[in-house]
Every structure is written in structure tokens, then in C-alpha cells.
Homo-oligomer: 275 residues x 2
Amino acid sequence: QTRIIAMMNQKGGVGKTTTAANLAAALVMEGMRVLTIDMDPQAHLSLSFGVEIDEESYSLYDLLSDDELDANDVICEIYPGLTLLPSEVNLAGIEGELAPKVITGQAQRVLKDKLAAVLSDENPEKPDFVIIDCPPSLGLLTINALTLANEVIVPMQAHFLALQGLSKLLETVQLIRNGFNANLTVSGIILCMHDAQTILAGEVVGDLQAFLEGSREAKVPWQNAVIYQPYIRRNIKLAESPSFGKTIFEYAPTCPGARDYETLAQSVLAQSVTS
Amino acid sequence: QTRIIAMMNQKGGVGKTTTAANLAAALVMEGMRVLTIDMDPQAHLSLSFGVEIDEESYSLYDLLSDDELDANDVICEIYPGLTLLPSEVNLAGIEGELAPKVITGQAQRVLKDKLAAVLSDENPEKPDFVIIDCPPSLGLLTINALTLANEVIVPMQAHFLALQGLSKLLETVQLIRNGFNANLTVSGIILCMHDAQTILAGEVVGDLQAFLEGSREAKVPWQNAVIYQPYIRRNIKLAESPSFGKTIFEYAPTCPGARDYETLAQSVLAQSVTS
Ligand SMILES: Nc1ncnc2c1ncn2[C@@H]1O[C@H](COP(=O)(O)OP(=O)(O)OP(=O)(O)O)[C@@H](O)[C@H]1O
Ligand SMILES: Nc1ncnc2c1ncn2[C@@H]1O[C@H](COP(=O)(O)OP(=O)(O)OP(=O)(O)O)[C@@H](O)[C@H]1O
Ligand SMILES: [Mg+2]
Ligand SMILES: [Mg+2]
């Protein structure tokens, strides 16, 4: 069964895009077929893969706003095993365009409907993983990601402000599970840009662990959520690689950032997921 | 004349809130009267000042959605010289609520209209500075900030993805200047979380300097924009202080982060601003 993962956090700059790009690439190295979806109008995932969308080529914006368009017209191959549904700046207008369809619930499931064929068992090239990079908001684009996904993974920085947003994030997951997607669970948290020596990081990690421990008996979507190992260390190479349109494995395959994401992919693969 | 500054960057996690809080506090230390405005539904500026909004107290959301409400009913004092117009989570819904008023341009100037009395010369307590913390988007809340402001300051991290968003940001400033606010200029860029030893930071700073140099003759809102000194170094104390509801000057007044923001405030004050 395809694992469809929403990389979600409304807090800005916590490592969603960096994780989406490099976890996807690491899973491909492990032999998985991975489709990535860039849900952010800022199109940073697309940029990070070296994909630039012009007015000629199709993007997620065209797919969501044009009934005639098929997902396979828009999905592009980055390299064997890794595909991308790219974004472009016009995606910022999609909330307004889909507004009339919100009340009927249609606007929230446009992405899911458009990907049904790609994700059906009839597709001989069906991906093993779908990784969706969300924008820093809980708006319609993120809701579409949550309606399509069967798992949520929360990249976050072990800082106070990122911790504050977590309850709102989990509340949103619960609401989407109730309203649109009964299969939605929170698989875990990925700690990004981690400064292990700081007291602050230690305290935030402690808070997260206590919170997750306390939810093990509760009937909540994060009942079985883990904090993935390893924590992703701060490593400037991870910030450099998007400027070359490459993942860390093409840019600096032996650096700490590459090793961390490679090991992280193995942790994600090892996780058995049941809703 | 009051300097009304929008701290703007649609890229997430670049230091908008940290800069809004600590630059404001540093300006108060220099004898200025400063009003801060939390335009982010995530309310991180309010949190950083130790202000928590419950359903009882008024917030920016109430001010923008209730015609009867006055700004002075909502503005609260953090300590002498420093006031805050706080946010709360319901602010996320304001775009939908104000949607019918977008076409007439009314929705874009709700904030400006509501603050007219506070900013008029009739007000004996008129602030010297207004600092507006924007969310990571170019949506209606940021547009309201740009319609009210007379200056834009762009906090950013000297990383590739933050650099990519700059042209879209400046295009938005130009559009608002044309459409709603002929006084709007870009005063400069504040480099946050700066890792001076990295090659990437050096390259991005070089790109920024070249870009700004090349715009000195052009009739653009960023014609006189500077990169402020000093660059704000990465310092864990700056990430810790919001967890105590304090600015860096109350929490760790001698740390590098405090010294950087203190010196930065002097640079901002020394700047003569003409539109
Ligand atoms: N482990 C790391 N070490 C160093 N830099 C990193 C690391 N992870 C991410 N970065 C850099 O930090 C910045 C923020 O990361 P990223 O863009 O992935 O976050 P995001 O959550 O996707 O942000 P947004 O909310 O804007 O979408 C980027 O410039 C990125 O290159
Ligand atoms: N100079 C610094 N050194 C260390 N940590 C910092 C520094 N500046 C900001 N931070 C921390 O980095 C994170 C991001 O900063 P901040 O929240 O101010 O960015 P932002 O642009 O307001 O983000 P958002 O787009 O989500 O509103 C926060 O956890 C903050 O405490
Ligand atoms: Mg991103
Ligand atoms: Mg902020």
C-alpha cells in the first residue's frame, strides 16, 4: 500500500522542504518509487530539484484549476524512481478560485481526486511513497494534502515557537480525520536543524517526548507517533544543495546532512504503519 | 513623522518575529515610543512578549472584524514605551470575512483606517515607530501591513531559498505602492541567523549587494535600500527568550544577540528616510 505522507508544519522555516526533497531522494536510493508533490506557491521543492516552471509547462496550479487536465500531463521525472508534481507562483491564487467549492467539500479533495488514477492498483508505475511538501499555513493547500495523505510527518526545529504551533497542527489533523479522511494518522516528528548541545533543544525534545508518551492510550491520530532517529543536524551543505538544483546525495553524498537523511529514510521504512 | 515599518518576508522562519520583538525593544531603550502590531494568526510576536490572548480580551482579529471597536480598546502596554496590538488564532479567518470588501479596496486598508486616530498628530501619545510583524505569506494580512506602512524592512537568512523569494516580495511592494500606498519604500534588509563563516552566506550577501547597487538609479521602491549593519548572528539566547515571554534585553542583555539588535536599532535610527 502506498504510504502517502504530508510533510506539514504551519511554522515557517522548520525544514519541510529540505526534508521532503532529501527524504524522498533517500527512499529512492533504498529502491522505492517516490512521487513528490510541491504544494507551496513559493515552489521551493521544485527549485530544490532544479525544476523551473514557466508559463508553457504545466504545474499543480493548472492541474487543480483545469477539469480537463490529467495528473500524468503534469508529473515530471527528476531521475529514475523520483517524480515531481511541480508548483508555480500562480498556485497562490487557487484558494480564491476554489472558494465556491469549499462548502460542498469539493475544494478540499481536488488533489485527491486528481491523483486517484496514479495511485490506483491499475497503475503499473504506482509509487511506493508520495511525499507532499506543505506551505507554512493551515489553509486550503495544506487541507488538500491532509485529505489525500494517510500519514502526517511533522518536521520541526526544537525551538519554543515551533513547539507552540504543535497543538493547533494536531487539532487540524483531528478535524480533517473527522471531516474528510478517516485514515489520517500522525506517524511522527522529524527534528531538523538540530543543535544537540543547546539546553533549549534538550528541553523541547523532553517536552515532545512527554507529550507523545502521554497520548499512547488516547484515541488520537498521534497515538503511535514517534520522534524519528536520527535528529537532522544543522549542516550548511543542506542549505547549499538547493542552489545547485540537487539533492544532498548528488551534491555532497558523504556530508553529515546526507548521512542523517539516509539513516532517517531507513527509520521511516522500518516503521510499520497501521491506521 | 512616525516611521511605520512592515517586517515582511513570505519565506518562513527567517527572523521576522525575532527582529520585530527585539528591534522594537531596542528602539524603546533608545528613548522611542514604539507600537508593535502582530499580523500573524500564529501570534508569535504576542507570545514573545508574554501576552496570551483568551476569548475575553480583544485582539487584532476583533479590531478588523468589528466596525464598532476602536484601536485603543485593543492595544496593550508591554512596559513603558512599548505597546502591542496582539493577535490570536481567529485572525486566520479574517481573509474569508473581509473577502466581500476586497474588490472595493476596503479590505486592504482596514488596518490603516483603524489606526488613523492613534497615528494622528492629535494623539499626544503618538508612537515614534510602528513595527508590524507579518506572516509568511503575501496574502491580505501582509497587504494590510503594506497599505499602512511607509517603509518595508526585509528580515532574511543568507540562504538560497530566501534569496529566491525576494523578487516576488519586491514586486508585491511595487504593486501596493502603485495601487494603495504611494509612500511605500523599502528601507533595507536585515540579515538574521547569520553564519558569517559559511561560503553560502558570503555568496548570498554578495548577490544582495550587487542587486541593490544595480537599483540605485532606478525609480523603484528599493532604490535606497541598504543591508543593515550589523548582521544578526545566530545565538541560541534569541531562540530561548520567547519561551520566557521576554525580549532579549530582559532575558540576556549582554549576550551577542542583544548586542547585535541594540547596534542594529542605532543603524535604523541613524537612517534618514525620505520617500
Ligand atoms: N539541517 C539543516 N542545516 C542547515 N540548513 C538547513 C537545514 N535544513 C534546512 N536548512 C535551511 O534552512 C532554511 C529553511 O528550511 P526549509 O526551507 O526546508 O524550511 P520550510 O519549513 O520548508 O520553510 P517554509 O515554511 O518557508 O516552507 C532553508 O534555507 C534551508 O536550506
Ligand atoms: N539570531 C538567531 N539565533 C538563533 N535563533 C534565532 C535567531 N533568530 C531567530 N531565531 C529562532 O529561529 C526561529 C525562526 O525565527 P522567527 O520565528 O523569528 O522567524 P519568522 O520569520 O518570524 O518565522 P515565521 O515565518 O514562521 O513567522 C525561531 O525559533 C526563533 O526563536
Ligand atoms: Mg518549504
Ligand atoms: Mg514570525
